[in-house]
């Protein structure tokens, strides 16, 4: 009985949680202009998927991520700068949606921490070498 249940669970279809519509046109299709495509691609890698929150929209298979990719490509093809598209999305979802945190008082520790750690490492090394020498 248990084995049959297991087999049934393996072959049964998962509960539908996606739409039936195909992906938007520019979700998985590259722009004809390679420079625009490169700009769109670079931006997509820095935008965060709202569904799979640890992934960029370039990596995510979620339908909303596909629609966001289409939106990025359409706007870039229409002549918008990547930073304008990022700003448009940030207006809607906050800094959360971008993987590139802005430099502002709240995020200063984030940007300064690596420098402080490097300095601390250099100091430790210097102490060590001095002791040996």
């Amino acid at each position: 009985m248990k084995r049959w249940l297991l087999i049934l669970a393996l072959i049964s279809a998962p509960v539908r949680s996606d739409s039936d519509l195909p992906a938007a046109r520019w979700a998985n299709e590259q722009l004809p202009d390679p420079r625009q495509e490169a700009a769109a691609r670079a931006l997509m890698e820095e935008l965060r998927c709202l569904v799979c929150q640890g992934q960029s929209i370039a990596d995510s298979d979620a339908e909303l991520a596909g629609d966001m990719r289409a939106l990025v490509r359409q706007r870039i093809a229409a002549g918008e700068e990547p930073e304008e598209v990022r700003a448009w999305l940030t207006e809607r979802y906050g800094d959360w949606v971008s993987y590139r945190p802005p430099v502002e008082p709240l995020t200063w520790p984030l940007w300064v921490a690596p420098l402080i750690m490097l300095a601390a490492g250099a100091l430790l090394l210097r102490k060590r070498f001095r002791r040996r020498g």
């Binding site: 539908r16 949680s17 739409s19 039936d20 938007a24 629609d67 207006e91 809607r92 949606v97």
Partner: protein, 175 residues
């Protein structure tokens, strides 16, 4: 000094355990709220999502009275759960419009037939464009828009019986 240093790893471990215990008992809210509350409804015009119910455009707001905008889809299971509560809100005099995300006319019609139609207008959003423009991050979501066309409140996830009073309150406030 030496004794203090000896207990440092234990202190670090205890701190780690405390942080883990805190987050396990009080999980972080991972919902991404829209920053559009307090802003006017972005400009859009959506065709009708199904026959017999007109489409939805941003011009349908700012007409004097508050409206609810339900972002839903026929393929979304929690949307079925909240359908009777939208009917209930409509019965209590709340005007409701909808945006059908990535949906087909026949599927929307079937959904309405099966679960009722509390909506005055339903716009079809096949590429989630208006959903993204509203700052919505999933289905279902419900926005309260006041009589001047300003988004006043965002409800994320399905409306549950306990959410009806707060939605009615927000709708009253937007009058």
């Amino acid at each position: 000094m030496n004794r203090v240093v000896r207990f440092a790893p234990l202190a670090v471990l205890l701190l780690f355990v405390a942080v883990v215990a805190w987050r396990l008992t009080m999980p972080e809210d991972t919902r991404v709220r829209s920053r559009m509350t307090g802003q006017p409804v972005p400009e859009f015009a959506l065709a009708a999502a199904t026959d017999g119910v007109p489409g939805l455009s941003s011009k349908d707001f700012a007409t004097g009275g508050p409206r609810l905008v339900n972002v839903f889809a026929s393929w979304c299971v929690p949307c079925i759960a909240e359908a009777p509560l939208l009917m209930e809100l409509n019965r209590r005099g709340v005007s409701i419009d909808a945006i059908a995300v990535r949906d087909k006319p026949a599927d929307v019609a079937e959904f309405l037939e099966r679960h009722g139609n509390p909506f005055e207008r339903i716009g079809a959003d096949p590429e989630s464009r208006v959903q993204i423009a509203l700052g919505s991050s999933g289905v279902p979501e419900t926005f309260v828009v006041d009589g001047r066309g300003i988004i006043r409140y965002q409800h994320m996830g399905p409306i549950e019986p306990g959410d009806v009073p707060s939605l009615l309150r927000e709708w009253e406030k937007a009058r």
